[in-house]
């Protein structure tokens, strides 16, 4: 089959051409360039082997007389060329008394007569219909489709009245129920009119079978406006059941003869138009911006903005768990990472990852066992020898020991690794940290459940792994608060962060299986967050503008949280400080 579309340049023409092409029709456009007037022979030649002529002139931007001339001329050419059918797209405006009609308006209802007082749209459509019917013989069957406005989101004229209703409510709506058609359905109606044998010579109303009254229309457009623009539109998520209105146009003839029913409901058409209106409002700033709010660290990683370019960041415990992910994240943010850990093989692997990945900056690794105070001192010396400035010190290394363990210095290991080593390392490096630099200590919400027993810092009377861990984190917290006090608001920023329950090996070390409480926590791994996620929480202390300027803060995952009052006790803090100094001196 071959179809010729006149005025194919309009939106409807393009859609129709698409739909026909999908049905394997041969499609040709007959546009303004061809055969304006008098070139009847050329026009006839173009139409020769066509089966159907689609006349879309109603949507051409022409004076009335020129439009009618053109339609007449094309139909004459079609007759001469033996085109078997012509389909005219007309308008439902032609009916004289749609408002006064008792039932839906049928195709046989009275039309406007060509007199004064006829609306312009009706006058144009009537003229087109008359021109289309002129000089009809049996050669070309003619089909007229009378169509209301379309839900055409690409057409500003179709959106303007809907936009007005969205803003002004029922007052802006026409009194008659709306029966607009979806543009895709118009294409299928045109195709049906071209194909169905019984359609020849008939006039059809093509419209949505359901009428939407002005109140419902206003309510629905406003609901859609909220649904498509608000962040949490739960109340508006489901369309309510609206009362049905009697339609203006009767559509049963098209349904019987053409077997045409709109595939897309009016609600879809309305939603599409409402979305387009909301896009426009958003562009004008009248509707909240919908750019997703991504955490600062993720945004920096995704955009490669490298906010830490040129900064030296020391990360302890960087060979596994949170520390390893954190080292990679900081490196991807542009930092020069000084990774500290016990496992030299894992350290070398980390370095080669930083080296190989184009998103990372090269870093360095220093092997050190933080449970020995001498090694902490050696570590600090090495760092200070290599770097005059340390922009961030992240005391990440931490451990839970299933059985009580003492270090080479004779101290209890949990206390040393989680508190005493960070205390000493911070003290040794603090002078190299500039005022806009950071000291970040990793803590855990578990510290809130605990306190500090100065008479038994090393848990020698009763060792419970998690209790020892909580005490050490409590001490760490108390130290952080005291440090923030000493450094003051102008000094380097001190922050403590609890990353939450993280899928690391901290609860899974040797002997953990013998401790039911540790084993139970480790079994909940699938509900924990990843080390990577925890790493982004820690990195946000350096990168997130909302946090990076603050000192003396405690952050639970991604939100500022209250400091446990017990850890802010100044006297106890000062005492802990002096005891700690004595302990590191003695070691």
């Amino acid at each position: 089959m071959k179809g010729i579309i006149t005025n194919a340049g309009c939106g409807i023409g393009a859609r129709l051409a698409d739909a026909l092409a999908q049905m394997r029709w041969e499609v040709e456009a007959l546009d303004t360039g061809v055969a304006e007037v008098g070139d009847a022979a050329a026009l006839k030649a173009r139409l020769r082997d066509a089966d159907v002529l689609f006349v879309l002139e109603l949507h051409a931007d022409l004076p009335r007389a020129a439009r009618e001339d053109r339609i007449r001329q094309r139909l004459a050419a079609a007759e001469a060329a033996g085109v078997s059918r012509a389909v005219l797209l007309s308008s439902a405006e032609v009916y004289a008394d749609a408002a006064g009609s008792r039932g839906p308006v049928r195709e046989t209802a009275p039309l406007y007569r060509d007199e004064d007082g006829v609306p312009e749209a009706a006058r144009i459509a009537l003229g087109a219909e008359q021109a289309f019917q002129a000089g009809a013989t049996t050669a070309t069957e003619r089909v007229i489709l009378r169509v209301p406005d379309l839900y055409d989101r690409t057409d500003p004229a179709a959106l303007a009245p809907l936009r007005a209703i969205m803003f002004e409510g029922t007052a802006a709506a026409a009194p008659l129920p709306l029966q607009r058609l979806h543009p895709d359905d118009l294409s299928s109606a045109l195709i049906a009119a071209a194909r169905v044998p019984a359609a020849g010579g008939h006039v059809f109303n093509i419209a949505d079978p359901m009428g939407i009254g002005p109140d419902v229309l206003a309510y629905e457009l406003q609901r859609l406006g909220r649904l498509l623009s608000e962040e949490d539109p739960t109340d508006d998520r489901v369309r309510p059941e609206y009362p049905l209105e009697q339609p203006v146009l009767a559509t049963d003839k098209a349904s019987r003869l053409l077997d045409f029913r709109p595939r897309r409901s009016a609600w879809i058409g309305l939603a599409e138009c409402a979305q387009e209106i909301v896009f426009g409002l958003r562009a004008d700033g009248l509707v909240p911006d919908n750019t997703p709010k991504v955490p600062a660290v993720i945004a920096a990683l995704e955009s490669r903005s490298r906010p830490l370019a040129g900064k030296v960041c020391v990360v302890t415990g960087a060979t596994s768990g949170i520390g390893r992910e954190l080292a990679v994240i900081l490196s991807r943010c542009g930092a020069h990472v000084v990774a500290v850990g016990r496992n030299a093989t894992a350290g070398a692997e980390l370095l080669s990852e930083l080296e190989e990945r184009p998103s990372c900056m090269p870093g360095e690794f220093i092997a050190a066992d933080l449970s020995a105070m001498s090694e902490v001192r050696k570590l600090a010396d090495t760092i200070l020898a290599r770097h005059a400035r340390v922009d961030a010190l992240i005391n990440n290394a931490g451990a839970v020991f299933a059985a009580r363990k003492t270090t080479a210095d004779g101290y209890e290991a949990t206390f040393v690794v989680n508190y005493l080593a960070p205390f000493l390392l911070t003290k040794l490096l603090v002078d190299a940290i500039p005022a806009e630099g950071h000291i970040v200590n990793l803590s855990s919400e578990i510290h809130r459940r605990s306190g500090l027993d100065f008479s038994d810092l090393f848990s020698s009377r009763n060792y419970q792994p998690l209790e020892a861990y909580a005490r050490a984190k409590f001490a760490n917290m108390m130290f952080s608060n005291a440090l923030a006090d000493r450094l003051g608001p102008e000094g380097p920023r001190v922050a403590t962060i609890s990353p939450g329950m993280v899928r690391t090996e901290i609860l899974n070390r040797e002997g953990a299986k013998d401790r039911p409480e540790l084993a139970a926590m480790n079994r909940a791994r699938n509900r924990m967050i990843s080390p990577e996620k925890a790493g982004t929480y820690v990195a946000s202390m350096l990168i997130d503008p909302k946090l990076s300027g603050l000192t003396g803060i405690y952050v639970d995952q991604d939100s500022l949280s209250d400091i446990a009052p017990a850890t802010a006790n100044r006297e106890a803090g000062a005492y802990l400080w002096s005891v700690s100094e004595a302990l590191v001196e003695m070691a």
């Binding site: 498509l228 369309r239 879809i268 309305l270 599409e272 993720i298 791994r525 990843s530």
Partner: protein, 320 residues
Amino acid sequence: MKVLVTGPTGAVGQYVLEALMRTDHDVRVFTLPDSMHRINYRDRIEMVPGDLADRDALDEALDGIELVFHTALISPPPAIDPDMLEHVNARGTRNLVKACRGAVSRFVMVSSNNVYVPHRMPNLWPLTDDAQREAHGNPSQQALGESLIRAEDAVFEAAETGAFDFAMLRPSIISGRKSPFVDNLVTQLIRNPEAADGLRRMWDTMQWTHGTDIGTAALLAADHPDLRNQSILVAGEEPITAYDVLSLMWEIMNVGREDNPYAELAARHNVGVPKFYPAKLRAAGWRPRMTAKNCIQEILGRLEFYASTSVNFPAYMPVE
């Protein structure tokens, strides 16, 4: 061209393999030894058994290969734990990418729309190809997103250093053989249509893509110049909720009747505008051929087959 498909028995891989059977490429597949018996077209392809942690097997599989379709990625939590996701998706992809350096000219990976920022709310629609990425959801969903983002990054960074060109496909919910999610949805609705409300709340708007359409998208992405080094959203055309699934099921099972009791309910729950718009694929001429109704028809047919064979077995098989 010599082509490698990893994961040729999966929800995506089997359709990529099927699509490749219509081309004149020499196809090799890389597969876990214990799923070799499930590979289709075994008489027409080369098979290399192994897993993505096995460097030697990877070298053997990649020998002479110019084009890679990496579909050996796993997805559905909670059945698969986060450590496994990390192991297969992130580390597996990293190993594969490392082994690729040299001969491979294009690397097509099938990731997931899960890597994008949360896009449940209609004010964010339609989501398109280059939306931001952020792993989100509960910890196991997050683990999936993270593992896929790490896998994607491995590919992006290898491409950056000149190893190969990539095409990163991100399909929405996949329908087809071996897609337990849609199967479960339909099964639940058959057993209890009233589950639709809960399922609608849980999954809200979905836009299923059938495996065959992902297969054609993958082949297109393998040689289309505009899709070179692009991230590409893949999604079917219809936005649907669980109520639409119910309504379509009724239509399929009641051919010729017009009194669908779920039609109105389904229409009311459907926002009416698409959630995803696969702009790049559409510009490259791709159109999904399988509608949601086709997908459901396929599932119902399969369920009927299972039901008809299972009647031969006793419900309970005693063990000696």
